[in-house]
């Protein structure tokens, strides 16, 4: 066999570089770094380091220790931490530094923020009854569960702000406005599902994100129908929404709620399905400036779920499960930080 041609050698080199990049991407994932996909790797570039430093300065200047977009950080919160650049990042030396890797993802746990104020949003209300079936209306079920949840959370030391206290008509815009004005730390919107297939049942929790599932699109369309937003408002909201630490937080919150809800309700409703945490573009999650989830606590379209929803004990179980989810998230979130005044029960 003769010597490989320059073309073959070049081709082999390309393959070696690709394998090296694949390995680097895996190592970045293992290290918890933002994977490099989406950007060309800039190697040994002083410009890259300069850009990274500029981004870091920008983040220090603009990141608030509270949920994104909340205005001036509260003094009590800012006093507890300082964002200092690590020496190796603050003064990069382009001659000796290793290849520029993707910037480290911001771990929200670094901020050690407590969850004090919970915004509870009972879905629908007033002239918007939500799903109606078997003589029950979604707006009444959600309000009942929300009231029970508020009682439980207050007993645990949380402040609770309800978007509606009675049978009132509220647009989604008004709900969002109320939640943001209350400066809630988390937002929990309560809904009851209605699925075309009557045999399907279960609990599911949504965080904001795109979906291509036609059923979820239908559900989001129905829940978004009384939004009160203009198209330009909506575009503006969407522009800022995907660049937010809030997303990871919302997912963690959703997982805490979903796990508690499924574990608790399965005990009284053994046939229940875990319909898991999903993404959907609910308007109410787009506009709120805090980690937020929308939970569908049962399926009114299912005969057995509907029977259970009539029982106050079952609605109490749901409220307790939701409270458990909030507590679990708050406990994980606050870590060593002081949680609510008086401290909610940690599990």
């Amino acid at each position: 066999m003769g010597l490989p041609s320059p073309r073959t050698r070049r081709f082999d080199r390309v393959k070696q570089e690709m394998v090296r990049d694949a390995v680097a991407e895996n190592l970045a994932t293992i290290a918890g770094l933002v994977p490099r996909a989406g950007r060309r790797t800039v190697r040994n570039s002083w410009l890259g380091w300069a850009l990274l430093a500029a981004v870091a300065i920008f983040l220090v200047g603009t990141l608030k220790p509270t949920s994104a977009g909340r205005g001036t950080p509260q003094q009590q919160e800012t006093a507890n931490f300082t964002l200092a650049a690590r020496p190796d990042q603050a003064s990069p030396n382009p001659g000796t530094l290793p290849a520029l890797e993707a910037p480290r993802a911001i771990d929200p746990a670094l901020f050690r923020l407590a969850v004090r104020r919970v915004v509870v949003d009972p879905g629908h209300g007033g002239s918007d009854p939500g799903a109606m079936m078997r003589g029950m209306r979604e707006k009444e079920i959600t309000l009942d569960i929300a009231r029970r949840l508020a009682t439980l959370l207050r007993a645990g030391g949380f402040e609770v702000v309800m978007t509606r206290e009675g049978d009132e008509t509220l647009t989604l815009h008004q709900r969002v406005k109320a939640a943001n004005a209350a400066k809630g730390d988390v937002f929990l919107s309560i809904h009851v599902n209605s699925i075309p297939e009557p045999t399907r049942r279960g609990v599911e929790t949504y965080v904001l994100g795109p979906t291509s599932d036609p059923q979820i699109e239908r559900l989001a369309g129905a829940e978004n129908s009384v939004s009160g937003y203009s198209l330009s408002d909506f575009r503006r909201l969407l522009e800022g929404v995907y660049v937010d630490v809030r997303h990871d937080e919302s997912r963690q919150f959703a997982q805490a709620v979903q796990r508690r809800m499924f574990a608790a309700l399965r005990r009284v409703n053994p046939e229940l399905d875990d319909r898991s945490v999903k993404k959907a573009p609910f308007v109410v999650l787009v506009g709120t400036e805090m980690p937020g989830v929308l939970t569908e606590v049962s399926c009114i379209s299912n005969e057995e779920d509907a029977r259970l929803l009539r029982l106050s004990e079952y609605r109490q179980d749901i409220a307790e499960a939701l409270a458990g989810g909030v507590r679990a998230y708050a406990a994980a979130r606050g870590r060593d930080a002081t949680v609510a005044q008086g401290g909610p029960e940690r599990k």
Partner: protein, 368 residues
């Protein structure tokens, strides 16, 4: 072996690549005396396959089921079932298809466990020796890698001695040496992944994912049949089997007839029109993304890319799909679309090629 012919389309190097892989394989056997087993795994929404450096190749349907109770466990006589066996025993099982829509369902520990068990099962099928180091490259739908990279990594923790995760279209391209001016369209069950290879490791801008793929065709087909014959009783698994047997685009070769219970009585239904419409529903979104991605390539190379479009994944087996895509490319200057020869193992073989090419020093850095 002679050097590669200048001007040869990169994907045509596939055969060359296979013989090179065999050479590497022989070298491995000699040098390492079977102390290391390299694996390439294609973890798909519908099917998963594995190619191993010891020559083992296996494919299983991506279903995992656990007996629902003690009675079921006694009946099925296994703690966990995989693939076709799981599907056939589904009434007695808690059945999971963990990569629905190309992603691990979040918040579902069972689905994470299912992914882990499925990979363990695939590894066990390759029969590694006791004490043999297993170095695995797992190709996953590009969307899974993009959206739940960390999640996926955690799910597969500990299944091999060292493990690397790559995107499926990249694995296919790598395995075929289609690394330059080539577009891979990988039509899976949950997603259709697009990747333009530009002689570098693909970045986000080189890739697209369409959440319209084989499963969407199944849903369309089921809806259309149900609309026409509302009393017909069938499951989505039956629809999937019909599609796999009789899918097509363009003109049919004959009628597509299936037998289903209607009011409890087995009845033949002609679903030719529904099959055609469901399969052809794939075309508009694929054409749109394909043309858009070509338009983003450097103008000097657009024509080359148009003539090097490779169809991979289960969807590539739909008869005349490649021709239909070529017809669409004719509107933008013409092109050539070629289905891979071995759609079941193209991804696994590509992952195996990456596994064999990764230097030992890199494997040492990667945990299992």
């Amino acid at each position: 072996m002679p050097p590669l012919a200048a001007g040869m389309p990169p994907w045509r190097r596939a055969a060359r690549s296979a013989s090179e892989a065999i050479e590497r394989l022989d070298t491995n056997v000699t040098k390492e005396k079977n102390s290391v087993l390299h694996l390439g795994i294609d973890l798909g929404t519908s099917r998963s396959s594995v190619s191993a450096s010891n020559g083992e190749r296996h494919v299983v349907e991506s279903y995992i089921g656990w007996p629902v109770d003690m009675v079921a466990r006694k009946l099925v006589k296994k703690p966990v079932m995989f693939g076709r066996e799981a599907l056939e025993n589904r009434p007695m099982l808690d059945l999971h298809r963990p990569l629905e829509r190309g992603l691990i369902k979040e918040g579902s520990e069972k689905d994470e466990l299912a992914v882990r068990e499925l990979i363990r099962h695939l590894i066990s099928l390759t029969r590694p020796h006791d004490g043999q180091r297993v170095l695995a490259v797992v190709g996953v739908p590009a969307e899974a890698l993009r959206v739940s990279r960390q999640h996926l990594r955690n799910a597969v923790k500990g299944v091999a001695d060292s493990l690397m995760i790559v995107s499926e279209p990249f694995a296919v391209a790598y395995g075929m040496d289609a690394l330059l001016h080539t577009m891979i369209i990988d039509i899976g069950a949950g997603t259709t992944d697009f990747c333009v290879m530009k002689g570098r490791y693909p970045t986000e801008e080189d890739q697209r994912t369409l959440l319209y793929a084989g499963d969407s065709v199944d849903e369309q087909l089921a809806t259309m049949i149900r609309t026409r014959v509302p009393e017909a009783q069938f499951s989505i698994h039956m629809v999937r089997a019909w599609k796999e047997k009789s899918s097509f685009v363009g003109e049919p070769n004959g009628t597509v007839e299936v037998t289903v219970p209607v009011g409890g009585k087995p009845t033949n239904i002609d679903i030719t029109t529904e099959m055609k419409r469901a399969c052809e529903s794939l075309l508009p979104p694929i054409v749109e993304i394909m043309v858009d991605l070509v338009s983003r390539v450097d103008p000097d190379y657009q024509e080359t890319v148009r003539h090097n479009v490779i169809l991979a994944g289960g969807g590539s087996q739909i008869p005349r799909l490649a021709k239909a895509l070529e017809a669409a490319l004719a509107n933008v200057g013409g092109g050539r679309v070629t289905p891979v020869e071995d759609p079941i193992f193209a991804g696994a073989n590509g992952s195996l090629a990456i596994a064999l090419d990764a230097p030992e020093s890199d494997w040492e850095k990667l945990p299992g």
